[in-house]
């Protein structure tokens, strides 16, 4: 197992190099001159030239790439073109708020989603199923920005129970995590349900029931464990997406996170920040996939890695 993890971690390196090169090319292909954008529409060409020099954009592209690549090797991601601060600081400040928001949203939505899914599967085509799936479909279809605004209007503006924007205390987490988690809970519910429905038709479930086990033991012990594999895969994917920072939720709740940073960076063609964010997102996904693979083996000891 350990050997497998080490092998996977080593496999990271070529992937990241590839992603890094693609990210560099991709952002430099975007239309628009960052020096001109930074200098503003009423700047003279002399000023634009000064800004270009200041941002290090006057060098030829291959040279810029070399500087970018050698910087990364030394752990230096360059400086933001917009704020002139090191990219690592910019991202560092915003990573934790997004991370904690993701954790908050994932923890309630996974538990609730799985519960709804199991209930729906067990009472399939009866009213708990109908209710659960109606909730899930609404969760998927209701756009996050609308949900966010409604929650804010009701709980912050009308009732004045919760703060509106910002990320200063745990109370600030309630509304954004509800908004962010709604869709995840819905997806988890549907996934758990379909996976469970399949499992409940398997021979070993019938055997378990024939053995005279209670329905609860059948569902929790024999069903859940086997139904979890696709659910965990989905959970990993969702976690990865949320970690990238939900642009919509972060804008509505003014969350100081990764999503807003990315929007600002793309707007101003802030190359170093965009590149570093893309690299970070790829790294996150690769690591999450690794964790998911390891979880498979934990859930089902029949799965072995070498």
């Amino acid at each position: 197992m350990l050997q497998y993890i080490v092998k996977r971690l080593l496999g990271l390196i070529p992937t990241l190099i590839l992603v890094g090169a693609l990210a560099f090319l991709f952002v430099h292909l975007l239309p628009g001159d960052p020096a001109r954008l930074a200098a503003g529409p009423d700047a003279t060409p002399e000023t634009v030239a000064l800004v270009r020099q200041d941002l290090g954009l006057d060098e030829p592209l291959p040279q810029q790439f070399l500087r970018f690549a050698s910087g990364i090797v030394h752990g230096d991601f360059g400086r933001s073109l917009r704020t002139k601060r090191p990219v690592s600081v910019e991202i560092g400040e915003r990573f934790m708020p997004t991370f904690w928001l993701t954790v908050a949203a994932m923890s309630w939505s996974v538990i609730l989603g799985m519960a709804i899914g199991i209930v729906s599967a067990v009472w399939r085509n009866r009213w708990p199923d109908r209710l659960g799936m109606a909730l899930a479909v609404s969760g998927i279809s209701f756009p996050a920005f609308a949900l966010g605004m409604v929650l804010m209007q009701v709980f912050a503006v009308q009732l004045n129970w919760l703060p509106t924007v910002g990320a200063d205390s745990w109370r600030h987490y309630i509304l954004p995590s509800l908004t962010l988690g709604a869709a995840v809970a819905a997806i988890m519910a549907r996934f758990t349900r379909s996976s469970f429905v399949d499992i409940l038709h398997e021979d070993y479930v019938r055997t378990a029931r024939a053995k005279g086990l209670t329905e609860a033991t059948v569902v929790v012990k024999h069903g859940l464990r086997n139904a979890l594999i696709p659910v965990v895969t989905m959970m990993g994917l969702q976690f990865g997406f949320l970690l990238g920072g939900s642009i919509v939720v972060e804008v509505v709740f003014n969350w100081p996170g990764m999503g807003r940073l990315l929007v600002d960076a793309v707007d101003m063609r802030d190359y170093p920040v965009i590149q570093a964010e893309i690299l970070l997102f790829s790294l996150e996904f690769i690591l999450i996939n690794l964790v998911v693979d390891v979880l498979y083996a934990v859930i089902n000891p029949a799965i072995r890695y070498r």
Partner: protein, 513 residues
């Protein structure tokens, strides 16, 4: 299911327990603004908001009051030499920087030496590059010599970027001055949490006795406009700008809030590429100007928070002349099109410099209006990067792809030169500046330069009037509207104004308990 009501009650109680008690501190003001600050150094900022925020801790030699009238601030008076090259400034006495340094002529020299040195690569270099040298005559007299006569120079000093930074702090922090702003302003810098807010607190040694009247200001960027409206309603913020037009009804209905629509010098226009067919024909351009119902446009796209443009340079900018509004006259438009040889119209492109909802409404309205005289337009809303690539930095004027272009301008120096030269001077074709009409008129060029060379106000006014009339007749633009600036504030807050250039004036800020 008997426990469901009880569960609900428990949840409600839990939420109620979280309810925020209102803060009791009396004189802390929060401004909710629309975007994050790029820097605190006005010499290195190109956005109005960062410069407006920097007024908390910085002041210039000159400044603008809330109506955009120029007033002396750290300077008391100035004299200009006959040739218009040498400006001698008398400075205010008894002014201290936040770090205790006395404000003297050496501060003036330090600041202008810094911005005029290209090695410092400051974004406002262009505004001050005309300065040849700055000298200290005595402690309270500074002398600035220009490279070429430029009669709007004092307006450049009043521009929000031309502030006095403590020379001691400049020497101490160097490039890090943006993280440690030290000025003479009413508030001193406390903290800048880049992701969240910037806080300033009352400076006890401020030279204007009795000011400021509040203890702290927290500048809080809240990007989403609905969320900005929400924090105003909850009382988490006392002032916000801009308020999107569609939210005016919601905020107006709240008894604790007041909505203000202030006049602006933001003019919106449709520029036409005069170097390209069919827009090289003045009749086509005039026809387009006649074909647009500006009053309806102001209603449809701006919810009435705009007025038809009354000239090339909007009212409120010095030396502006009222020439319009350009009448809406379809018959005249059609006959001009026929005279120009396009009785059936033609097809062309309409680009917008912005991709927000209002621009969407404006361009759709223009599309429908121009269809009345047979002009079929294809609309593209340009995103910032595309705009820069396809318009602002297009290298060769002869091949410039821009045709009809919806855009706007606000002359931040409050003077006609910056409202005309960058937009309509033939020296300002992209990529140099912002003459997106590629307009060239020898008469206008001459007027602009003669006006800059003279410091006689009546002569200047005459040159600028001639320029504006020539432009109005030539119609390189279809002038559309001047916007109103919609802000909201809590009724307890007084003395905060949105200025015509969308900057803020908060000298008189006060908060009633």
């Amino acid at each position: 299911m008997k426990s469901l009501p009880r569960l609900l009650a428990a949840v409600v109680l839990a939420f109620a327990a979280l309810a925020a008690g209102p803060s009791t501190a009396s004189k802390d003001v929060v401004f909710a603004v629309a975007s994050t600050f790029t820097t605190t150094d006005p010499y290195d900022a190109n956005d109005t908001l960062s410069q407006a925020m920097a007024k908390s801790f910085y002041e210039g030699l000159y400044g603008f009051d809330k109506d955009m009238k120029m007033i002396p601030v750290l300077a008391e008076s100035h004299t200009v030499s006959k040739d218009g090259l040498v400006y001698t400034l008398k400075l205010r006495k008894g002014v201290k920087f936040h770090d205790g340094t006395d404000f003297k002529a050496d501060a003036v020299k330090a600041n202008f030496d810094r911005v005029t040195n290209p090695d410092n690569k400051l974004k406002r270099y262009g505004l001050y590059s005309n300065i040849a040298k700055t000298e200290v005559v005595d402690d309270y007299t500074a002398r600035i010599t220009l490279k070429t006569a430029f009669s709007a120079f004092i307006n450049n000093l009043a521009h929000p970027s031309g502030v006095m930074i403590s020379p001691t702090a400049l020497a101490k922090y160097g490039k890090d001055i943006a993280s440690n702003p030290v000025g003479t302003g009413p508030f001193k810098f406390v903290e800048w949490n880049r992701t969240d807010y910037l806080k300033v607190a009352k400076f006890d040694g401020y030279w204007r006795k009795g000011y400021p009247k509040v203890d702290t200001i927290t500048w809080k960027p809240v990007i989403d406009s609905n969320s900005r409206a929400a924090v105003m309603q909850t009382g988490e913020a006392q002032f916000t700008f801009p308020v999107p037009y569609e939210l005016d009804a919601v905020l107006r209905s709240k008894p604790q809030l007041e909505l203000v629509a202030a006049p602006s010098i933001v003019i919106r226009y449709l520029s036409m590429n005069t170097q390209q067919k069919p827009f090289d024909n003045a009749k086509v351009r005039q026809a387009i100007a006649y074909a647009i119902n500006k009053a309806a446009l102001a209603k449809v796209a701006f919810n009435g928070y705009a007025a038809p443009a009354e000239g090339v340079v909007p009212e409120g900018v010095e030396y502006s002349v009222k020439l319009g509004p350009w009448p809406y006259d379809l018959r005249k438009a059609k006959s001009l099109m026929a005279e120009a040889g396009y009785p059936k119209g033609f097809e062309t492109e309409l680009w917008s410099a912005y991709n927000h909802t209002i621009a969407q409404k404006v361009t759709q309205f223009l599309q429908q209006q121009l269809a009345q005289i047979g002009i079929k337009v294809k609309i593209t809303l340009l995103e910032a990067g595309q705009r820069v690539e396809k318009v602002e930095s297009w290298p060769d004027p002869a091949t410039a792809p821009v045709r009809l272009y919806y855009v706007g301008w606000s002359a931040s120096t409050g003077e006609a030169d910056w409202a005309l030269r960058p937009l309509l001077g033939s020296e300002s074709w992209p990529p140099r500046l912002f003459n997106t009409a590629y307009y060239k008129s020898d008469r206008v060029d001459k007027d602009i330069h003669s006006a800059l060379a003279t410091s006689d106000k009546t002569k200047k006014a005459a040159f600028y009037e001639d320029a504006q009339q020539t432009i109005w007749k030539d119609a390189p633009w279809a002038p559309l509207v001047t916007e109103k600036l919609l802000s909201a504030h809590n009724k307890k807050l007084t003395g905060v104004y949105v200025m015509p250039d969308a900057s803020f004036n908060f000298t008189e800020i006060n908060l009633k308990p």
